[in-house]
């Protein structure tokens, strides 16, 4: 055998150094983007536009938390937008039908509803062994269809929602909207959960090598089921917060955001093939996409370009991951050259 290349981590050039930590490169990109836009239009960093930015990104970032858990396991959850739609309208209806109901109770019911809908996905995927892509594509339509039937052209308006609840989406504490605080706290909890607990590491293990996960004694089906239940519950919470943020909800609420969420997660460094990524990175991915679309607005770029740019960013992120995987593959192959 040829001599093994010594410690291969060295001397891989600036590109690898840049990508070694996805979080670092995301922060850098966001900083550069903000700097450039601010130079061109100083209003970009005004308190109002910063607040808008935070509000815009918060609900996506929240959903990204649940989606990260799912994608880490090499699964996918497309149904989240429909769960948000149902629970947003449900929250509004609760305020209309039960005047004086506590906002906490409404949030609790929304979360519980999301959890139950997530459990439907969980049962079909973990025990029915139907691929997640198919299952959640199906429930995406089923949940949305049920929502249309139930809403039946009605609409919840801001006047129906108590001001104290709407304050979640408007008031700030220390300059940061309450909505954003909620997401930040959950981000910290998820980050600790995925890093510091055995259960959290199991999500990584399952996505990295499902067979090895079985051999390590992990109950893979149960872990996958819990993942989809968490994703559903998060979507339920996002539904209640959607109402607080926008005040107005009809049957089309949140339609299509599942793709933005998945794009953010992948841009944020959670590998679509599982096993790699962090919630912090994923939320930074959401922030990057959000800053990017604000930039385009501030620079008066036509809105249809925004979607194209979003797609381009997804492809760049996936290409970067593929490039790194390729480098690794090359390296392992060199080590095999003894035959």
């Amino acid at each position: 055998m040829t001599k093994q290349p010594e410690n291969t981590a060295e001397g891989q050039g600036w590109l690898n150094a840049l990508f070694r930590s996805r979080e670092t490169s995301l922060v850098l990109l966001i900083a550069v983007l903000t700097a450039v836009t601010t130079t061109l239009n100083p209003r970009f960093l005004s308190p109002q536009s910063l607040k808008d930015l935070m509000l815009n990104v918060s609900i996506i970032a929240l959903l990204v938390l649940g989606q990260t858990v799912i994608i880490l396991m090499r699964q996918i959850d497309l149904s989240i937008s429909s769960i948000v739609g149902i629970t947003a309208f449900l929250s509004g209806t609760l305020f209309i039908n039960h005047p004086g109901i506590s906002g906490y109770v409404v949030i609790a019911i929304a979360v519980l509803t999301g959890l139950l809908l997530g459990a439907v996905n969980a049962a079909l995927i973990a025990w029915g062994k139907i691929p997640a892509l198919i299952t959640t594509l199906g429930t995406l339509y089923i949940f949305r269809g049920a929502n249309y039937a139930w809403v039946h052209g009605r609409q919840v308006n801001a006047v129906n929602v108590p001001g104290s609840f709407l304050a979640i989406g408007t008031s700030t504490v220390a300059g940061v909207p309450i909505l954003t605080w909620i997401v930040l706290i959950l981000l910290i909890l998820f980050s600790i959960g995925l890093r510091q607990y055995r259960a959290g590491r199991e999500y990584y293990a399952i996505g990295s090598n499902p067979n090895a996960a079985v051999l390590a004694g992990i109950n893979v089906s149960r872990r996958i089921a819990i993942g989809f239940i968490i994703s559903g519950a998060i979507a339920g919470l996002a539904g209640a917060l959607w109402l607080a943020r926008f005040g107005t909800v009809d049957a089309t609420a949140a339609e299509g955001i599942e793709l933005t969420v998945i794009t953010s997660t992948v841009v944020g460094g959670v590998a679509i093939t599982g096993g790699v990524g962090t919630v912090v990175g994923a939320v930074l991915g959401a922030l990057l996409l959000s800053v990017f679309s604000s930039t385009l607005v501030f620079l008066r770029v036509p809105s249809f370009w925004q979607q194209a740019f979003q797609g381009a960013m997804l492809l760049v992120a996936i290409a970067a991951d593929a490039y790194l995987a390729y480098r690794h593959a090359l390296r392992s192959r060199v080590k095999w050259s003894h035959v």
Partner: protein, 511 residues
């Protein structure tokens, strides 16, 4: 005598109607390396999986810690102190070495968080004890197979394994790496661990074992301390079955050279492969599983890339390296896995048989059903296929499916036919029909390369036998020289003159 750490008693196991293990008993003693040897399909891997808790034996028991039991899950085996290292390490490539070692049982701090510091410290200790220059935080992605096995061994060590089973751990290692692995094994042995070592490499087996057991066809054929064995004796026991008269290859005077390959190389898979095949010749390609036989065939046909080397059909070099080019040049390839690669199971026999020549069936751009039927009928009749050509393939028996695959390639009227394990999983009757067909094709002037793990089949059918070992050709045997011992010698990488050269007078290999 000391009592064994674990003892298998009269283990039986069947998969469907196939009996894999028939009354296997095997003790593993503390501080002893016990090697398990046998041909492909002798039942070694199944035995390993039963001890690992992946399979449940149909009958029999394991005596372990004063109890008779069978492991019902991998977790149960691990907790009992039985660790298994598979040929292909089963690791989480995205996670660190330390996390791989401790997955699902990480040490915790007082707050219930994972104690990464403790985890890394423990793994770091083991790494330096084993003399490996890796860091516990290093990701597994990018580690060599040897280093991945070190990770598996550390996993076993942290389980405080009393029994360590290694299923062909050296198959993918270089000499240096094997040496290091053996030092580790030696250290474990001195600590009193009972080790089972499954390997095809005889010199390694003799170097490391204290006890050897040979299996054949699901039974233990011989077992005893290493001093009582010789290499020849092991090989004789591994192969020793009678060669029956199933194989009717007729003598054909070889014609022009059809295929010539020169120094084929694919990094990490095979190298220095040169040989030629003539008209009317059947060349057998023998070797153990993983020796690279199928890979060479796939590369010749253009499915897998070549790093260097030349493939010539007649006098023309096959420059465009793709299956289409190989087919156009006159190569047919019948792959090993009929279901996945050879047949579209839901389509009819007729459709399958003409898939390779759709272009010839075109009339006004559409497939002509008459021509399709005509050609399918011609070849399936010649193959003596049972069943109607308008029936779907998946209702046919294994033997008949194999005939459809053959018919499909014969329809292209190839000059060279490569068949990979043509009779695996088919019954004896169908087997001899496949053999008769191959023989007839050779007689008609076709050149054939036959890859087979079935030694009597290779010996009976091939005019010449090429033997591969770990990606290289280690022997070329003429029909007269071909015995099971000679093939096994070359297939297990034994080089130089064999001490039992004269024993080839007993072609059935019985000792």
């Amino acid at each position: 005598m000391r009592s064994p750490t674990i003892e298998l008693v009269d283990i039986y196991k069947s998969f469907g109607s196939t009996r894999v293990l028939e009354g296997v008993s095997l003790p593993l003693f503390p501080g002893e390396v016990h090697s398990l040897l046998g041909e492909n399909g002798a039942g070694k891997s199944t035995l390993v999986k039963i001890m690992a808790g992946l399979h449940l034996a149909d009958k029999g028991a394991m005596r372990f810690g004063g109890k008779e039991m069978l492991f019902r899950s991998t977790a149960q085996a691990q907790h009992a102190g039985v660790s298994v290292i598979y040929q292909e390490p089963t690791l989480f490539r995205d996670l660190s070495i330390a996390e791989n070692v401790f997955m699902h049982r990480q040490p915790k701090t007082a707050y219930g968080w994972i104690d990464y510091a403790e985890m890394n410290r423990t793994v770091s200790q083991h790494l330096s004890q084993l003399g490996v220059s890796l860091q516990p935080e290093d990701p597994v992605l990018g580690l060599s197979i040897a280093d991945q096995q070190i990770v598996e061994i550390i996993k076993a060590l942290t389980f405080e394994a009393k029994v360590l089973i290694m299923d062909e751990p050296t198959a993918a290692l270089s000499l240096e790496e094997v040496k290091r692995l053996f030092q580790v094994v030696e250290r474990l042995r001195s600590k009193g661990v009972a080790i089972m070592f499954v390997s095809h490499r005889l010199e390694e087996v003799f170097a490391i074992s204290q006890r050897i057991t040979v299996m054949r066809d699901g039974r233990v054929i011989g077992s005893g301390p290493v001093e009582k064995w010789t290499t020849e004796e092991v090989i004789r026991k591994m192969v020793g079955r009678s060669l029956d008269a199933l194989y009717p290859k007729e003598k054909v005077e070889p014609g022009k050279v059809v295929l010539r390959v020169r120094s084929l190389r694919r990094a990490g898979v095979f190298k220095e492969i040169s040989f030629e095949v003539r008209q009317g010749e059947i060349v057998g390609l023998a070797g153990l599983v993983g020796a690279g036989r199928s890979e060479v065939a796939r590369a010749i046909f253009g499915i897998d890339p070549l790093d260097s080397g030349e493939v010539l059909i007649g006098d023309t070099t096959l420059s465009n390296h793709a299956p289409q080019a190989a087919m156009a040049a006159g190569i047919g390839f019948v792959p090993e896995d009929r279901q996945q690669q050879g047949l579209v199971m839901e389509m009819t026999v007729m459709r399958n048989a003409t898939l390779t020549i759709l272009r010839q069936l075109k009339r006004l751009g559409l497939v002509s059903k008459e021509k399709e039927r005509q050609i399918a009928t011609r070849w399936t009749q010649r193959m003596q296929l049972k069943g109607h050509i308008e029936e779907p393939v998946n209702i046919l028996s294994g033997g008949n499916q194999q005939k459809v695959v053959l018919a499909k390639w014969l329809a292209t009227e190839p000059k060279l036919l490569i068949v990979d394990e043509p009779t695996r999983g088919v019954d004896v009757g169908a087997k001899s029909e496949v053999h008769r067909t191959l023989s007839q094709l050779a007689k008609d002037g076709m050149a054939i390369i036959m890859i087979s793990s079935d030694l009597p089949e290779v010996i009976g059918m091939a005019d010449r036998i090429l033997v591969m070992h770990e990606g290289k050709l280690t022997a070329e045997l003429s029909r007269a020289e071909a015995t099971e011992e000679a093939i096994m010698f070359a297939a297990t990488g034994q080089v130089g003159p064999r001490p039992d050269q004269k024993s080839k007078a007993t072609p059935n290999g019985k000792s």
